[in-house]
Symmetry: C2
Subunit: 279 residues, 2 copies
């Protein structure tokens, strides 16, 4: 396994593989890899001849008061996990190479970027859209893999690829969870013991929503209210949003229907967690 | 020569050529081809194995009150010129395929898009940046050719390709002119006889600036004032801007230096013309 820092070298390696007719599978990450990432990496490995994982804590997707500096960086551990998972190249560029001082170009996805998390993290999805476009151009994979945990990101990336006529195929893989239901996230590392318990509010409220829907409830605001009550009972929890939206255009739905997405973002102490459920 | 309307077919043709190791040269145009376009097309043909010209009057780069509807569309004539010039494929997509109703993704280049013409045509360069990104992804050429006549566009396209790590190489070719100096432009077709004479104000004022600089003048505002006087003497002329800027970052320069760009946009009657000179 190689760890490649140079953008140019990464491009050359990809071209070399493609010229041999080998398909490239790509998993873009910010590192601090957990089983969720590893499930993407394993799928990418199975379905392709050459396996690239990028590790890049992308500054343009963090707001000024967000956790860019604090975000966990554990390259050695990540490299070991990648090696075990059969990764061929870790692409690990510098922020300076990705965004030189005269950098000016951004990819914007209207509406979808302003919904849900976009309201609370202005500029976040512009940063995501831009870095993903750059990474896809550098690595030029046949397949790229993302997690359903970041539901809005997944919708936006599909949209960019379609709208900008990029040739990559996108696969969205299911959210992995701890046994007690907590969605895997690198940010779970921030939680202390009490917060770890309160963090269950997210997955529990989604399970509650699922149960209510199974019982025949369809009114979004009633379901959201029940979810809100459950989460508010957790001492360290503060809700950014709970929303029931169309799974494709992310517009709010008054009634739960066949292709709804229930999404929420909740602060647990100083840690912002997200989770979602597709109906 | 094929005329290809389908985006998917164009992508397949390009992939086929690339898999045979053939290099693709690409000239994106809005049609109404003149000698300026043809000089790009000939260069692209000489320097590559496979030659693609796109003809697409891109709606997203026209403002509401601009000449989108009026813009000349002469496919048959263009096709004849392309055929004679050895073009392999004219890519001639529909606006509906390029921008389906749920289209949402735009490429933005900060600062560079707001300078010069950007002030007078808000959204124009966003449209240009977006369509060029799309076309480059669809055609995936080795080389793409643009004219220096659209100086700001050329700077912006170079920037996108660098910033988004696109693999295409960009060549900017010199402005072609009529014998009397008028820069070739599809929009020259709009001019009546009187306006055609007044339109010489643009190239004449650039020649005047060149002479002044040769005489040792370096003060930008003095040079611009002389240019302005010359153009104001033309009855049908109304100046949008005359500017002396850094040729790379498009920021105004107080003194003409080694890498300056003198650029101007002037309305001649109802026709907006641009021209420029690199020092």
């Amino acid at each position: 396994m190689k760890i490649v820092r140079s953008i140019r070298l990464m491009t050359e390696i990809s071209r070399g593989e493609k010229s041999k007719g080998r398909s490239i599978g790509f998993v873009p990450t910010m590192g601090a890899l957990h089983e969720g990432h590893l499930s993407l990496i394993r799928s990418a490995g199975k379905e392709n001849n050459f396996l690239v994982v990028s590790i890049f804590v992308n500054p343009t997707q963090f707001g000024k008061n967000e956790d860019f500096k604090r975000y966990p960086r554990v390259l050695e551990k990540d490299a070991l996990l990648c090696k075990r998972a059969g990764v061929d190249v870790i692409f690990y560029p510098t922020a300076k190479d990705m965004y030189p001082s005269e950098y000016k170009t951004y990819v914007e996805v209207e509406d979808l970027s302003q919904a849900l998390c976009g309201k609370f993290r202005p500029g976040h999805f512009r940063g995501v859209a831009t870095v993903v476009t750059k990474l896809l151009n550098i690595v030029s994979p046949d397949w790229a893999y993302f997690g359903q945990k970041d539901a809005q990101q997944a919708v936006i990336i599909r949209k960019i690829v379609t709208d900008l006529n990029m040739s990559v195929k996108v696969e969205i893989m299911p959210t992995l969870r701890e046994k007690d239901g907590l969605a895997l996230s690198s940010r779970n590392l921030y939680l202390n013991q009490e917060e770890r318990k309160d963090a269950l509010g997210l997955s529990q409220s989604l399970k509650l929503a699922k149960d209510l829907i199974r019982q025949g409830k369809t009114d979004s605001s009633a379901i959201i209210n029940s979810m809100r009550k459950l989460i508010r009972a957790k001492k360290s929890a503060r809700i950014d949003y709970i929303a029931i939206v169309d799974a494709q255009n992310l517009k709010p739905l008054k009634k739960v229907s066949g292709k709804s997405l229930i999404a929420l973002a909740v602060w647990i102490g100083k840690t912002r967690l997200i989770d979602n459920l597709k109906i």
